[in-house]
Symmetry: D3
Subunit: 120 residues, 6 copies
Amino acid sequence: MNDDLPAREAIFGAQHDRIFDRLTGLDPDLATYIRDFAYDTVYERPGLDLKTKELLACTLLLSLGSPDELRTHLRGAMRAGATEQEVRETLLFAAPFVGFPRVVAAFAQLRALLHPRPGS
Amino acid sequence: MNDDLPAREAIFGAQHDRIFDRLTGLDPDLATYIRDFAYDTVYERPGLDLKTKELLACTLLLSLGSPDELRTHLRGAMRAGATEQEVRETLLFAAPFVGFPRVVAAFAQLRALLHPRPGS
Amino acid sequence: MNDDLPAREAIFGAQHDRIFDRLTGLDPDLATYIRDFAYDTVYERPGLDLKTKELLACTLLLSLGSPDELRTHLRGAMRAGATEQEVRETLLFAAPFVGFPRVVAAFAQLRALLHPRPGS
Amino acid sequence: MNDDLPAREAIFGAQHDRIFDRLTGLDPDLATYIRDFAYDTVYERPGLDLKTKELLACTLLLSLGSPDELRTHLRGAMRAGATEQEVRETLLFAAPFVGFPRVVAAFAQLRALLHPRPGS
Amino acid sequence: MNDDLPAREAIFGAQHDRIFDRLTGLDPDLATYIRDFAYDTVYERPGLDLKTKELLACTLLLSLGSPDELRTHLRGAMRAGATEQEVRETLLFAAPFVGFPRVVAAFAQLRALLHPRPGS
Amino acid sequence: MNDDLPAREAIFGAQHDRIFDRLTGLDPDLATYIRDFAYDTVYERPGLDLKTKELLACTLLLSLGSPDELRTHLRGAMRAGATEQEVRETLLFAAPFVGFPRVVAAFAQLRALLHPRPGS
């Protein structure tokens, strides 16, 4: 991980342009707000390292029940230096707070990321 | 912070017994489950340090909208070694994911913790 | 419990008129919809007994995080024949599904109902 | 849009019967409640025009995270006279309140409605 | 239903091992917590019969919007002795509390369970 | 309402400075993000009039269950030109989508706004 990269490049890696192209295809202003406010403003704040931020992002998306965005940030957490074990600990930690169904759904996204099946 | 302490003693400090007495007063089995499962099982897992766990807890409680528990874990995060700035960063980080109203409510808890008013 | 009573009279008892007067004071049409649709249509359906319905209501309100309505239906469950223990079991049962914070908040309502403090 | 039509015919158009046939297939009483209470009672209230109601419906379904119903009401909003731009503004407006993940999911439904792919 | 069986065997029946194998495949500790805490501790508590517990579980999962787990427990409720009509009543009962979209989604899971389509 | 005013001045009126001073007291960067992104960027977008935006805001805050912010925007909706009746219609409209408890809580905020009690 290169600390001089914008956070969004560090966590999305080779998927960066595809992710923002998809958002632009949904709505150009939406893509701009996500890039400028969520990433280039909030994610770029100092005070927490990128790995911690990505673990917080996974927790927030687990809690919301947003499977696609969760998978993106599970990958992002590992790109930002989290080990698979740290990601697993983060998901397990949520169970007493939000219950098992959200945690099971989150681990299903992690499995899909770690063991992609052909065609899915 | 003494790493040999159970996590619940490290994060609740002098409030520990009062917190569990209150839970026992609500329901003794509930108190047992929270102590044995949430704290002595899940919180004691290795792999993430206690400060990171408490920042995740604050994020989960911000997302749930649970003000009392959030205040307890904002204090816990600082007992576990998080600076006030790290706590603020954690709360701000949630804004793009869950919106401003939950974040404003979380900062109101932080302010109440940092600047308690007489009688409240 | 008199099975010939409307469900809303059975579960609200002496509070019935006060509860609907308060709703009418909020909005008369809202009060009408709650009375005619929620109570006189949905609650009056056969197939589940009133005690089971009230335990389901407590579960739904625990999950929503609606403390005032929850307290009303905790009382309603006991008026419909649920023992204190059955109510406690219902609240505890939710913990693995929605996590502890919602359950703790629900037990705080139960305690306030069972042990009202002067002035609260 | 013909103001003499029931709101549900105005917003569902040619899909009206298919939508209610599907609901009846799920549960006949559920279909009756949705038709009689949600549509023929609440939607028929005066005071807000149908376009505004459909934009509110889209906002509520975005917030709930109900993709299928959201798509139905995105189409309904446009049948009720909302331009594509007004629908986009409605979805973007939600971002500061509920965060980006719900808004991204909503725009994915809008895109699927505007650019249906063969077989989906 | 054999009362000597663990609740999880009574409600999952022939799917029991497949369900826990899947959870173990997601994360072995997650599977252990769900088995030991959610099922062998909370589900085994006396005070409510298994049918009532499963109806509560369906209500919680309807409220959470967790379709896969809901389908599992709709089946579990019927294995625990609930009639199809009691399950339908349970789902309908939630409408005034959490609104129609969650209830429609729950009935879609019930239909899929009662009328599975080839290949789905 | 003066269309040349920033939306936040039009909807907050004489409370504007107090509202932002409170947010700054919670966290200066939070206040900046809410002012610059939520208000001066998203609220200033053309395409929907301010009254419609405020009705959407009330709907979002009703759905989130954020009572303080809801009261602020109920007042804002009326400042932006919504009649009391339009606000009531907006709150009632949410009932079939999110259920009665959230709507009752919203009307309690409306009543507190319309009929403030001394000391509250």
